[in-house]
Amino acid sequence: MNTMDLGAGLGGIYLDNNATTQIDPKVVEAMLPYLNVYFGNASSQHGFGVPVEKAIERAREQVADFLGAEHPDEIIFTSCATESDNTALWSALWSQKGKTEIITTPVEHPAIMQTCDFLASHGATIKYLKVSGKGDIDLDEFESLLTPQTALASVMWANNETGNIYPVPELAEIAYKHGVMFHTDAVQAVSKIPVDLKNTKINMLSFSGHKIHAPKGIGVLYVRRGTRFIPFMKGGHQERGRRAGTENVPYIVGLGVACELAKKHLEDVNSRVRALRDKLQQGILSSIPECFVTGDESRRTDNTLNIAFKFVEGEAILLMLNEYGIAASSGSACSSDSLEPSHVMRAMNVPFSAAHGTIRFSLSRFTTEEDINKTLEVLPQIISTLRSMSPYWKEGKPQIQGLDHEFDADSKEVRA
């Protein structure tokens, strides 16, 4: 395998950072000794284990500091955010006898949605908040759903597709008032917005390393002291008996460094990266007709832009972008395994006609102005090429006579 071939050619432009991020070279550097030299098991009593154990505790402090957690022992290392999410949901149900309800939103990541579906088929009651056309939720509605039977409220901090930021500290406060445990999937929020857990009522928080320039295969579940908890993975005393399994030492060390770097670069994301995102948005909206931003422009992460291009299909746009070495992603059906557009677009009632043409650009601190300029240079041509092939795009085109069928581009229909 040619290790220099990224698929998009050298110097590819990576605007898919909500899917995964490149590993910061400093993270790799920090990990290497724990791959090359320090192979010991942190649980061992002998000398091989000691430096490893210390490295894990150091990383735990770095993560706790990054999240603003009061105590480092509130940090549990897991394999990924999906494991953290599963753990949070199962633990909330198992540890609170008689409580069988979970409150969540219809725009969560599948790690929450599909686990909820499973739990529902095994007796739990799942209540979904409504979301508006912009993807926002209503705090009063949230409060009205909380009952003495509610085991957990789980609301994502930021949405992966639209970047929408949800009022998680406020929601946690409301849940606390009603004695309800609160969990948030913060995968898309950490490293993009300030997080200070000690000044919130959040009980549990999940995130993963690979969205913040650490490698894949490492995640975190924050569990506030005093929160009822039952481990999901059993079979060892690691992580104070809360997550069995020998610690993934190099990745834990890498995550610690990634958290430190993310904290340091937060300001850069909130200013420079945000300006690039805004430039991309303005550039697209001013040069391409018939497109619109999905989600809530006033409350979204600074790195994310989700835009719907009417009359064209997302996967075709991605393929053409890829020809120019530009990587983005789509909520279209064809770019996923399912044949329907993303559940987020459907929950927001974006018509299928537009949902199929949504493209998400997600930036990172490694994104440059040149990347954005190049994208703005090629995108209008791509959209117009595809539109010229589309039976829905009629502008300035002659019509064939005697058709018994017209393609309805403005269909508001959604399939069940």
Partner: protein, 318 residues
């Protein structure tokens, strides 16, 4: 990113005939913006010679939908209408050097647009198959309604039978569990109508009530070859040699092949050529006679015949 062949990429990035033929006399529209793909196929057919003089398309859809449309127009140009009718989805796929399994329905859409254009040329309308609800089988683009209909009308009880009738589940097989669910759903209604459901023990094929397959709906006989297959079976019977006829499994084999043939709704036909011991020689026609479909059909027949006769049967074509 999907793993597309160079040919698919070429036809996507440099589509042939992506334009409007203003004086087209055969236009086929399939799909919708709701489904995420739509294709308008435009043909200019010489009314005297019925030669397709020009073909073009407009497609809304993913890369492979555009590439399949482009390939189809290239395949159509210069062909007579009769030749064009014979183009199969597999030939479109082969022309492109293959499509990812998830994208096979793109070639199906092309084939449907061709049907629609031909119907339009003859002054008929064509109901496109995207109206058939939730897409269950992604490989062959078969929707839930088509499967339900097949189960309902033919009292099908196994996934295998559904594959036989609709092709659903015949590709990667990932929808087999869903098909099982659909069969159960339909049988709830069937039982309400007083039809007893056969036991859950694997049902040998003779228990399919042959009488119901002869009362297939008009939709089936219009796409399929129920009537002609019957005629063909009779004709073949006359040609079959005495050795074949004296085979102890002759009656079973004829019956099973007939049922399979009747169940093929894509214009394919299966006929008996000869039986020699445990070797059954068949003749295949239509889409089932070539490529991946041929292998699948032969494999399927082998299993059916082995199950139905209680012997290890080998199936081959001549």
């Amino acid at each position: 990113m999907w793993d597309y062949t160079d040919k698919v990429k070429d036809h996507f990035l440099h589509p042939r005939n992506a334009r409007v033929i203003e004086d087209a006399n055969a236009v086929g529209d399939v799909g919708s913006i709701i489904c995420g793909d739509a294709l308008r196929l435009m043909l200019k057919i010489d009314p005297v010679t019925e030669v397709i003089e020009d073909a073009s398309f407009q497609t809304y859809g993913c890369g492979s939908a555009i590439a399949s449309s482009s390939a189809l127009t290239e395949m159509l140009k210069g062909k007579t209408l009769k030749e064009a009718e014979k183009i199969t989805t597999q030939e479109i796929v082969d022309y492109l050097g293959g499509l990812p399994p998830e994208k096979m329905h793109c070639s199906v859409m092309g084939r449907e647009a061709l049907d629609a254009a031909i119907a339009n040329y003859h002054g008929q309308s064509y109901e496109n198959s995207h109206d058939d609800g939730e897409l269950v089988c992604h490989c062959f683009g078969v929707g839930i309604n088509k499967i339900k209909k097949a189960v309902w009308e033919n009292h099908l009880t196994t996934v295998e039978e559904v594959t036989n009738y609709t092709k659903a589940g015949g590709g990667c097989g990932s929808c087999k569990m869903r098909i099982e669910e659909i069969i159960d759903e339909v049988w709830v209604d069937l039982e309400k109508c007083g039809v007893p459901r056969p036991g859950h023990a694997p049902t040998p094929i003779p228990s399919i009530t042959v009488s119901t397959s002869t009362t297939s709906s008009p939709a089936f006989s219009s796409i399929g070859t129920v009537t002609s297959a019957k005629g063909a079976t009779a004709a073949v019977e006359a040609q079959i040699d005495e050795k074949t006829k004296s085979s102890p499994i002759y009656d079973d084999v004829v019956k099973i092949l007939k049922e399979v043939s009747d169940g093929l709704t894509d214009g394919s036909k299966v006929e008996l050529a000869a039986i020699s011991g445990a070797d059954v020689i068949v003749k295949l026609e239509g889409p089932a006679s070539s490529g991946m479909m041929k292998d699948m059909t032969l494999g399927f027949l082998k299993q059916k015949l082995t199950d139905g006769t209680g012997r290890q049967i080998n199936v081959a074509t001549r």
